[in-house]
């Protein structure tokens, strides 16, 4: 179990146990003795109140009372928020509009003043625990309803909900069996939150003398301590213990909530740092090919997780000037990790354990941070996976293009910058008049072209493109591929093109490296890979793409 959750559950469990069993062991909290206010002693572990009542006994029964209120309110508020949040969101349309309007109105009504007004209206002798709980539940469900609504809105559009409808499930079963279980973590955390809120609110009410009649809660303890001038008499044992119980219980439930959050969202988990298990091997620097611009030698990248994942194994590649190198592989084969490592963009827990990356005569892996900053983008630029969604949505593309120039060519004048950006857009086939446009005003293909323009802005010698066309339609993909070929011929830069689409690479690249499980299993010219594949995996990949023009039928039927 996660440590936060375990600590929270342990602490909360102890307090609940104290509330359940404590009152049976500590005697009657109402017994009045004529000893008056006494500090803690052997006989009365937490001392006595002004009227000689045992504080420990009072604390036990007050804890029980507060927990009971907390649980009651949380159950009622969760049911209310479930009805208004989940049912409304699933039903959609007018029902959702009305339900969420109602929740929003409830949300903006200030809770505590409303509670005070409502409870003040109820005559003290009718102010039972249930009434108080009901009032607290009515004023406390709206925030949870909004959280549940948002979550349900996202769940109801999942394919498995559609699949359940297609298989003929009734609406209540879709909500109860398909959606509700996936809401459990959210429901649990909302429940826990409401328990704390209810205990605190009730304590506040009781302290003001507006709590349930004849009840005993942590709040009533404060009320009597206040009325008995406990603070002035320095009788700390009278008010510190109930305060501690509230604080500890709140802390415990907060820990439980963190634990639940970590279960819902694994990214929040604390990642323990591990010692590296993989021994670094010094790679001998092989002689660099004469016209090579980028040389990768025996590169190893390991994710130092437990267990360590060896994502890139002994990869050696050479990129010649003006060459298009295709890097083919399926998801998880390490091709993106390799691209990041070449650019030194990998982040812990990823670590280059051995090998070298040489760019012309620069040892990339040895660059100091400032040198690295000057090297990146100027000499080696990158078009990221899903690049068309990596433009900043709130600034026009002009500002985003000029940023790179401002950083790397600070001496450039503003009109020159504008000219350069316009020139680059023209180069990738986007009308320079669109410089003032925001990303959402451009189509996916145009955004991708803008990203390529950005990568070209500083005349890099090498461009790494990670799945640059995967999210695009085939017509747009064709235009961008033609653009890359044309730009390569005009500007003579070299390209590492990463994709799972082997036919595309066969058409585009000069040489192709096929990656599998972190290893390059085949590395040859495109023609050799197509006509004379050597590795069985390459043959399997080739067979996975039926040809549009070749013989029909052999593959499937």
């Amino acid at each position: 179990m996660r440590p936060k959750l375990a600590a929270g559950l342990g602490l909360a469990g102890l307090i609940v146990l104290f509330g359940l069993i404590g009152p049976l062991l500590t005697g009657d909290p109402a017994t009045i003795r004529d000893i008056g206010l006494t500090p803690p002693s052997g006989e009365h572990l937490l001392g006595t109140t002004l009227t000689g009542q045992d504080v420990l006994a009072q604390l036990a029964s007050a804890t029980r009372g507060s927990l009971w209120i907390g649980a009651l309110v949380a159950v009622m508020a969760t049911v209310l928020s479930g009805i208004f949040g989940i049912v409304g969101a699933y039903a959609g349309g007018a029902v959702d509009e009305v339900f969420s309007l109602f929740s929003n109105v409830m949300l903006v009504i200030p809770g505590l003043p409303l509670v005070i007004v409502i409870t003040a209206f109820v005559p003290p002798d009718e102010r039972g625990t249930w009434n108080i709980a009901l009032v607290l539940a009515i004023t406390g469900w709206a925030a949870s309803a909004r959280v549940l609504r948002a979550q349900t809105l996202s769940l109801r559009n999942r394919d498995y909900v559609a699949a359940a409808r297609v298989s003929g499930e009734k609406t209540w079963r879709v909500i109860g069996v398909e959606i509700l279980p996936n809401l459990l973590p959210v429901l649990a955390s909302q429940f826990v939150f409401t328990v704390v809120l209810a205990i605190l609110s009730e304590a506040g009410l009781s302290f003001l003398g507006l709590g349930a009649a004849n009840s005993s809660t942590l709040g009533t303890m404060f009320y009597y301590a206040q009325n008995g001038f406990a603070l002035q008499r320095e009788a700390w044992w009278w008010f510190v213990p109930p305060g501690m119980v509230i604080a500890l219980f709140g802390g415990a439930l907060a820990l439980i909530n963190f634990g639940i959050d970590e279960i819902i969202n694994p990214r929040l988990r604390d990642r323990p740092r591990r010692k590296r298990d993989v021994v670094a091997v010094e790679a001998e620097i092989a002689p660099v090919e004469p016209d090579a611009v980028l040389t990768v030698r025996n590169l190893n990248v390991v994710y130092q997780s437990s267990p360590p994942v060896h994502a890139v194994k002994n990869v050696s590649l050479t990129l010649r000037r003006g060459e298009i190198l295709g890097l083919a592989g399926e998801s998880g084969c390490g091709k993106t990790t390799l691209a990041y490592a070449i650019n030194r963009l990998h982040r812990p827990p990823a670590e280059v354990t051995s090998g070298s990356v040489t760019f012309d005569d620069v040892d990339v892996l040895a660059l100091e941070p400032e040198e690295l900053r000057e090297f990146r983008w100027v000499r080696l630029s990158m078009v990221f996976q899903g690049a068309m969604n990596s433009l900043n949505p709130v600034t026009p593309i002009r500002a985003q293009l000029q940023d790179a120039l401002r950083t790397h060519r600070p001496s450039m004048s503003a009109p020159d910058r504008e000219l350069r950006c316009a020139e680059m857009l023209r180069l990738v086939g986007v009308d320079p008049a669109r410089l003032g446009a925001y990303p959402h005003e451009l189509s996916g293909g145009m955004r991708q072209r803008v990203m390529i323009a950005m990568a070209l802005l500083l005349d890099p010698q090498v461009m790494i493109m990670d799945e640059p066309t995967t999210a695009l339609d085939v017509l747009v993909q064709r235009e961008i591929l033609n653009e890359i070929k044309r730009l390569r011929d005009e500007l003579q830069f070299a390209v590492v093109f990463i994709t799972h689409d082997l036919p595309l690479l066969l058409e585009l690249s000069d040489r192709i490296a096929v990656m599998r499980d972190g290893e390059v299993v085949e590395y040859a010219t495109a023609e050799d890979v197509y006509l004379r594949p050597e590795h069985p995996y390459t043959r399997q990949l080739l067979a996975s793409f039926p040809s549009l023009t070749g013989d029909r039928g052999a593959l499937i039927r």
Binding site: S167, N182, R552
Partner: protein
């Protein structure tokens, strides 16, 4: 013989015609491919046939094996759908068993058929106990196919069934669909953006562009000798290494 006829199907979203006057017929034992780019309206057609989205105009008529029109409440006994993303179409909370047993029971069949269903999609019966996160993409999609078969459906709408899978397992899943189609005499609507698999996997091809069918015919005719300018552009844009290398050397 079960047939599903779509006539004049139209769907309008905010005055934009996502699907515009589309008609075609699915017959038992035949696969019809619906090809087009994203936004062309092909998924909307799938969702209308699966009764997830109500058409703005037009009709979907299902004729049962007895030649009589199938009433609306029995529609789902006959028409089922396979979704694109097997990582989204299985509920992470439930076991494989749940995913198959529910449709079986909803359509008056026994949950004892679960092992048999798994075998038909080339999975072993012990998969029933597992949860989706324990399965690979290909195994998930096989479970999704078994779920579509569970009600005994004879019309299967496969919406991009392999485009989210790793390339090396796509053929396996397509071959499985092809085998089931032949063995069970299913009528299949294969929706895809990939012209090459459409050609090899289907008898008839419908090419969609902006909500309309711009070209239709036998798959070999349409995809190797396209007549419509849009289909031609699509075919020309599809990467095809065969055009760069002829066997034996650079062309």
């Amino acid at each position: 013989m079960t047939t599903l006829a779509v006539r004049g199907l139209t769907k309008t979203y905010h005055r934009i015609r996502a699907v515009d006057d589309v008609s075609f017929t699915l017959t038992a034992g035949r696969t019809v491919a619906l090809v087009g780019e994203s936004g062309s309206g092909k998924s909307t057609i799938a969702r209308m046939i699966a009764h997830l989205v109500r058409p703005t105009a037009g009709e979907i008529v299902l004729t049962g094996p007895d030649g009589e029109p199938v009433p609306r409440r029995a529609y789902r006994d006959h028409v089922q759908m396979i979704f694109q993303d097997p990582f989204a179409s299985l509920n992470p909370f439930h076991t494989v068993e749940h995913h198959l047993a529910r449709p079986l029971r909803l359509h008056g069949r026994s949950r004892d058929e679960v092992p048999h269903l798994l075998e038909r999609v080339s999975l072993t019966p012990d998969f029933a106990r597992r949860r989706p996160h324990e399965l690979s993409g290909g195994q998930r999609q096989r479970v999704a196919i078994a779920r579509a078969l569970a009600p005994g459906a004879k019309v299967i709408i496969a919406d991009e069934p392999v485009s989210m899978l790793d390339v090396s397992i796509r053929m396996g899943v397509l071959k499985l669909l092809g085998r089931l189609q032949r063995e069970e005499h299913l009528a299949v609507l294969y929706i895809t953006h990939d012209l090459a698999t459409a050609r090899h996997f289907s008898d008839e091809v419908l090419v969609m562009h902006r909500g309309r069918i711009v070209e239709r015919g036998a798959s070999d005719d349409v995809l190797t000798r396209p007549q419509d300018p849009y289909t031609r552009r699509l075919a020309a844009a599809t990467p095809d290494p065969a055009s760069r290398f002829s066997r034996g050397g650079l062309s």
